[in-house]
Amino acid sequence: MRPLDWIVLAVTLASIVLYGLYKGRGSKTVSQYLLAGKTMPWYAMGLSIMATQASAITFISTTGQSYVDGMRFVQFYFGLPVAMVILSATAVPIFHRANVYTAYEYLEKRFDPKTRALASAVFLIQRGLAAGLALAAPAIVLSVILGWPDRLTIAMMGALVIGYTVMGGIKAITWTDVQQMLIIFCGLAASLVMAIRLLPRGVSFVDAVYLAGAVGKLNAVDLHLDWNNRYNLWSGLVGGAFLALSYFGCDQSQVQRYLTGKSIAQSKLSLLFNAMAKIPMQFFILFVGAMVFVFYLFERPPVLFDQTALAKPEVAARIAPVERDFTVAFEERREAGWRLIEARRNHDAAARAGTLARYRRAQRALDAARQRGARLVEQTTGQTVNDTNYIFLSFVTRYLPAGLVGLVIAVIFAAAMASISGEINSLATVTIVDIYRRHVHKSASDRHYLLASRLATAFWAIYAVAFANYGKTIGSLIEAVNMLGSLFYGTLLGVFALAFLVPRVRGNGAFYGMLAGEAAILAAFKFTGISFLWYNVIGCLVVVATGLLISVFENRREVVR
């Protein structure tokens, strides 16, 4: 980082905190602090929803994922617009009219206290783990790329977030999310422009797109149905819709966003805005990754972008043969790339077919060398290699000009802060509304609950920082906790589906349905190889089926009596 980068980073972060403090002033009641007094317009809620969902690690790794695996990850979001339409038609008016602070508060109105308590506990466990890791994950990557101490990065992010979140509540969070999304868009656009501008003379944008597509990096749609394939059109549409229904319909970190709307219509518009903007945004991020891939067709990339893994003496001593094979494959691929451009421009079909085969062979050889390098690191050090997370930031810090590096690092901070602030705010809300006010202190003054909400927010922020410091020592836990999220969402979705769609089901059906759904998901996780996207479908269906069965028995028993 050069002086200009530090200036850009400092100014951007300072502006986020100051803007948050400014917009959050005047939150003097619990309603203002937790729901912004229900005054928010649709565009602010919509951008806040997108900012909360896009964590820093998603942003960092999505570009890397495209570099390695192509653009097929975009299909993961195909179910999102379907979910947004369903939620706009069902959850939004129901939650608004129920006049609740949390989604789980509604479950008590609809079912009973034990169902609300179980759903709240599931949320606190799952989101509590995720909040710590949302801080830890970008800190680990930044520490490797920039050499910053990860404790310092975690503490810095935590301190910045605590400042405006504790003081300003959700109003501050929503408006800073808007600002953070604008910074993210600027950073992404600048990265794409630079990736294209850094291509060698003689390689046009169309050539770049052609070269990326020729080795499957632009595989945005895969029509083949495969239960074990995480990203295809069908898993994206069905599994993705269920995941989005769970996340946006049952996760308080998202529900709270659209509960701040000044009307039902404004809340609906915020979700529908997300439905229309999210897929193009993800496509754009993945396309940046594809262009970074093309840049590295002409500039030799390292065998592994995580340089700390290669720097270990025991790895360095054995990496030479891998480096040699990698260099040979790279030279061959670069040569084939140039010839392919030439053949395409000359409309020479025969030369094009031959060169294309050569280009793809070289890409396979390069991938094989990379995999050998990763295996070598894993066998020598015993650590899992997750190189995808380091690709984009490595490109940024090595090749982008002064000022832009600072902007992209600010984007990583902004994305991390946006998701963490939303998470700790929702954790505090559930703690106070569903636990403290419901079970500990039932009838205190508004001022008392406001202070308790501020203290709970500070508690969850400090907890996130502490957990992040612990979580960073066990890198593979990040993947485990991502998986953990999907282990719970299906159950939550099932209980809300019962609440909204099946009036005959009552408390026992919902509660035991949740337990059965959770058991089914854990069984699928433990005993099958089914992709995690389908867990939400399985859990939801089992909850609904069990709830219905129990309600049938209950109704029969009442008739007999």
Binding site: K38, R97, Y101, G216, D446
Partner: protein
């Protein structure tokens, strides 16, 4: 400690600012999704 705002139990579901009804807005969003998928499919076919 209840959320502020008008009487939420009788909160009206205002019409959307465009297209006349929410059903039409939902249909437009789903049509947009279908269009995007078609576009991405054509993109995949054209460059892979």
């Amino acid at each position: 400690m209840t959320p502020a705002g008008p009487d939420r139990n009788h909160m009206p579901d205002d019409p959307p600012p465009f297209l006349g009804s929410w059903r039409r807005v939902y249909a437009a969003v789903l049509a947009y999704l279908a269009g995007l998928i078609l576009l991405f499919w054509a993109f995949t076919r054209a460059f892979s």
